[in-house]
């Protein structure tokens, strides 16, 4: 198992290098001059040219890329923001906890609502509750996050005046963003739990448990659920990774100073080091979450565990 973990971690290195290369290439071809953005539209061309040289923007692409990788690997330095002049790492460390908190809250809602709904709909398949939840799950998956956010603001801020329309500094302020970001995951986890439970309850060992006279609640909670949750854990982990990268729209709607919003504003300002560092950071987090999911999956399912031990 340890060998497998080390192998997976080693495989991250070329992937992350590839991500840096892609983002570097994308920023390289992006129209607009960062030096002009820093100095403003009125700045004389001479100053802009000097700043471009100072920033190393006139160097060939591969040289810029090599310099970035060298600094990142040898000096653990992923650059400074063109706009705030602060180290990119510090900026990311300020924004990331906010995104992490938002994603964790959204995931918490998704698990707390999605798993029970999935279980009940599977146990009472084709009941009215099943039909209603299935329909709501489909609506949840189909609802644009940014529209849901606006509708919640319209209802709970404009009409009822219960919740603040923006920010993330109080429990009240966290409710709408977490629900907005989490609704799609609620729907996905409900559907996954339902189909996984339906598959498990048809298996022979469940029939055996029932034929032995076990109570239905024991059959469901003790025998069926632990096995049904294995694929749900995988989906939940993958969803968590997606939430980390997909929180951008929610952060923009509710003016939350998270990583996604930082990325979009950095793209608008042509703040290349911030964008490169940000995408690199999110990709790394995404890969680590996926690695964690694989390991958790192997830990939960002895059949997979045996392949690596």
């Amino acid at each position: 198992m340890l060998g497998y973990i080390l192998r997976r971690c080693a495989m991250l290195i070329p992937v992350i290098l590839g991500v840096v290369f892609i983002v570097f290439a994308l920023m390289y071809v992006t129209p607009g001059d960062p030096a002009r953005m820093v100095l403003g539209e009125q700045a004389p061309q001479v100053d802009v040219d000097n700043l471009r040289a100072e920033m190393g923007l006139n160097d060939p692409f591969l040289l810029q890329f090599g310099r970035y990788v060298y600094k990142a690997v040898v000096h653990a330095d992923i650059g400074r923001s063109y706009i705030t002049k602060r180290p990119v790492w510090n900026e990311l460390m300020t924004a990331f906890p906010v995104t992490l908190k938002l994603s964790a809250l959204a995931m918490g809602i998704a698990l707390l609502v999605g798993i029970p709904c999935g279980i009940v709909t599977a146990v009472r398949q084709y009941s009215i509750f099943d039909n209603i939840v299935t329909l709501f799950a489909l609506i949840g998956i189909s609802m644009p996050v940014f529209w849901l956010g606006l509708l919640l603001i319209l209802l709970f801020t404009v009409k009822l005046g219960w919740l603040p329309p923006s920010g993330f500094d109080s429990v009240q302020a966290m409710i709408m963003p977490a629900v907005t970001l989490g609704l799609q995951s609620v729907a996905i986890i409900t559907r996954m739990t339902r189909s996984s439970m339906l598959e498990v309850v048809r298996q022979d060992y469940i029939r055996t448990a029932r034929s032995k006279g076990q109570k239905e609640s024991v059959v469901i909670w003790k025998h069926a659920l632990p096995n049904a949750l294995v694929p749900v854990v995988t989906i939940a982990g993958i969803q968590f990774g997606i939430l980390l990268g997909g929180a951008v729209l929610t952060e923009i709607i509710f003016s939350i100073p998270g990583l996604g919003r930082l990325m979009v504003s950095s793209i608008e300002m042509r703040d290349y080091p911030m964008v490169q560092g940000g995408v690199l950071f999110i990709a790394l987090a995404f890969c680590l979450v996926n690695l964690g999911v694989d390991l958790l999956y192997a830990w939960l399912d002895p059949r997979i565990k045996s392949q690596y031990s």
């Binding site: 070329p14 992937v15 992350i16 590839g18 991500v19 892609i22 983002v23 994308l26 920023m27 071809v29 992006t30 129209p31 489909l138 609506i139 998956i141 189909s142 609802m143 644009p144 996050v145 940014f146 529209w147 606006l150 509708l151 603001i153 319209l154 404009v158 990774g241 997606i242 980390l244 990268g245 997909g246 951008v248 729209l249 923009i252 709607i253 996604g260 990325m263 979009v264 793209i267 608008e268 964008v275 995408v279 999110i282 990709a283 995404f286 890969c287």
Partner: protein, 284 residues
């Protein structure tokens, strides 16, 4: 002789017809296609016609969905917006299916080092969350319909590459492929003529759901200002424009959002129905 009814796709359609949700999805999709095709005829006003004496009017007999801050009819803009959304959805997915499908087919068919190199490249793209990748590509390409389609399409390539590769791997060693090799068919002919047509089922399901995701992503990009520019009637951009008026004129956000949701819902109904209809476990 196989009659149409007994062919695979005949059976699939027969099963699909029994699925009420899938039929609703199909009706929604056909309705949208008709709306997009006939937009010039059925829209009560041109999408960019401004009436500065009728700005920010609520829903009325003349303007069913009200007017925006420039006095443009929201219903007409939503009707014309269906063209943009469907175009983005289908073209972006068509692009990612073609490119991703080709990469996946080549990787799966040749295997070995080719497979390793291509799939590691796909792993790199997959390690960037899809929305973030679409945002980065859209930012580097600049605004515009074609760029929006490309941004959304590029971000989805790895999914199709993986899907097609897995399908190709599962059938590449079957006897009919061996037979094609033994009669001297070229690799390209074998891939496109013999292997890919047999991988269509999962691709069609994924593509149907992919169109929904592409429309959502494109609307999201326009919402944050990285998609289409005004006065193009894109649903996401309309939502974004209505955001600042949400307190007093909520209809400006409600109707475009509803259009997006109904479209996505219809495609999801259809995609789910197709998946059930094509699922081998459910076949006779």
């Amino acid at each position: 002789m196989q009659t149409k009814k007994n062919s695979l796709w005949g059976q699939v359609f027969a099963r699909l017809k029994k699925n009420r949700m899938a039929m609703i999805g199909l009706c929604i999709l056909f309705g949208l296609l008709a709306t997009a095709l006939l937009a010039d005829i059925i829209a009560p006003f041109p999408f960019d016609e401004q009436d500065l004496f009728a700005t920010l009017e609520g829903p009325s007999k003349l303007h069913w969905f009200g007017t925006d801050e420039f006095g443009r009819d929201i219903l007409s803009r939503i009707i014309h917006g269906s063209r943009i959304s469907l175009q983005v959805g289908f073209v972006a997915v068509g692009f990612s299916v073609m490119v991703g499908g080709f990469i996946g087919a080549v990787a799966g068919y040749y295997g070995g080092r080719t497979d390793n190199i291509l799939m590691r490249l796909m792993d790199i793209l997959l390690s960037i969350p899809q929305l973030l990748l679409a945002i980065s590509v859209a930012a580097s390409l600049g605004p515009g319909l074609l760029n929006l389609m490309l941004a959304v399409g590029i971000a989805a390539i790895p999914q199709y590459a993986r899907l097609v590769r897995a399908s190709v791997l599962s059938i590449r060693d079957q006897e009919f492929v061996e037979a094609a090799v033994s009669v001297g068919s070229s690799d390209l002919r074998i891939i496109f003529r013999h292997i890919l047509p047999n991988c269509m089922a999962p691709i069609i399901v994924q593509a149907t759901l992919g169109v929904a995701f592409a429309i959502l992503t494109a609307a999201g990009l326009s919402f944050i200002g990285l998609g289409l520019e005004p006065p193009t009637p894109e649903w996401g951009a309309m939502l974004s424009g209505g955001r600042e008026f949400i307190r007093d004129y909520p209809y400006m956000t409600i109707f475009p959002g509803m259009a997006i949701m109904i479209t996505i819902l219809g495609l999801n109904f259809l995609g789910d129905g197709l998946r059930d209809a094509l699922d081998p476990k459910l076949r006779n």
